[in-house]
């Protein structure tokens, strides 16, 4: 009877430690717990617990694959998921680079490139409340959000596209977490 009680106690302790390890998941990130029963002699049980913590992603943002530029502008969306894991924090989205490898040095930021032509553009970010603003500088806020959902932005050419065809360029987005 004593042995059974001791074993149950050890199991409860292990379960408790497991629970507390996962309870801290938002800050420490979840991992796996290995339960090894080392000995169970004369009513005394000892266990070895190993917390193998691997830092896992807490949220996901789906970004467009490339930049499309057409007369009048193109609307694209971001999709934010798992934002509630940020414990009240919000994501501030900005653009940190608009260059693509191989683009000539004289091609300015916020421009798509083709041959000797380039087309400057602006980005218009839309907030959930319907307001929006234009961005044509790096590292300026395009939009922010504190809940899951789809968020729109628009890429608008600033001048007439000189030659039709495919223009080249990429956007590197930056996600900051602000409390």
């Amino acid at each position: 009877m004593k042995k059974a009680m001791a074993f149950c106690l050890a199991a409860l302790m292990a379960a408790g430690m497991t629970t507390s390890a996962f309870a801290a998941a938002k800050d420490v990130n979840p991992g796996s717990v290995i339960f090894d029963q080392d000995s169970f002699i004369n009513g005394k049980a000892s266990v070895e617990l190993e917390y193998d913590a691997v830092a896992e992603p807490t949220y996901t943002i789906t970004i467009p694959m490339g930049v499309q530029l057409v007369k009048g502008g193109t609307t694209s969306t971001f999709k934010a998921e798992g934002i509630s894991n940020l414990n009240g924090g919000k994501i501030v989205l900005s653009i940190t680079s608009t260059r693509k490898s191989g683009m000539p040095d004289d091609c300015p930021d916020f421009a798509l490139y083709r041959g000797h032509n380039y087309v400057p553009y602006e980005v218009q970010g839309f907030y959930k409340d319907g307001t929006s603003h234009f961005v044509s500088e790096l590292n300026k806020e395009v939009m922010s959000f504190d809940e899951d959902g789809e968020y729109r932005y628009r890429v608008i050419p600033s001048k007439i596209i000189p030659v039709t065809g495919t223009y080249w360029g990429n956007i590197t987005f930056q996600f900051d977490i602000v409390e």
Partner: protein, 177 residues
């Protein structure tokens, strides 16, 4: 004698005119050819459509665990995993961060972990295919205990042509202790 000289001069003139016309035709042909292919040549650096062999990271393994929150059936984009904070052990170069390229993505990922204050790169991966994840990394140096602002830079390259696509910088905090 004078007659022969005149004939020779006329023949020479004819040959020169013919050569001139031939040169003009060649130049015109070259011009037309260049005009027809100019845009291809200009675009060539961006059309890396020749087959390529990705430099895959051997540490990346199949990832069957929890994937970041996601919904299916949406328009194709690139899913970027975000990290609010990352807990790391102090004084150790070997760390465990799940650097995941979600399965649905149409591209390879290259991850780079950079300290914001100094710009120092702590870790750079090779290419990670969709559905794979690196779970253990060796940093360039061990960190002292403390809190560090850092950025995970994710560069993306299309699966078939290796063309660079939109990328992301994910700001995070390294909680070293």
């Amino acid at each position: 004698m004078e007659e022969n000289k005149k004939t020779w001069s006329a023949q020479k003139k004819g040959v020169l005119i013919a050569a001139g016309i031939l040169c003009m035709l060649l130049l015109m042909g070259a011009g037309v050819f260049a005009g027809m292919h100019y845009q291809e040549w200009v675009d060539a650096p961006y059309n890396e459509e020749q087959t390529f062999t990705p430099d895959l990271d051997e540490a990346a393994q199949d990832w069957n665990g929890n994937t970041p929150p996601s919904a299916n059936g949406e328009e194709q984009g690139i899913k970027i995993p975000g990290y609010a904070s990352i807990a790391l052990p102090a004084g150790e170069k070997d760390v465990k961060i799940l650097l995941l390229n979600p399965e649905e993505n149409p591209c390879y990922f290259i991850f780079e972990l950079v300290l914001d204050e100094t710009g120092e790169t702590l870790y750079t991966s090779k290419m990670v295919a969709p559905g794979k994840a690196i779970q253990e990394e060796t940093l360039s140096r061990a960190l002292d205990a403390g809190e560090y602002e850092a950025t995970i830079k994710i560069s993306t390259y299309s699966l078939d042509t290796n063309t660079q696509m939109n990328g992301a910088n994910v700001k995070t905090k390294l909680l070293v202790g």
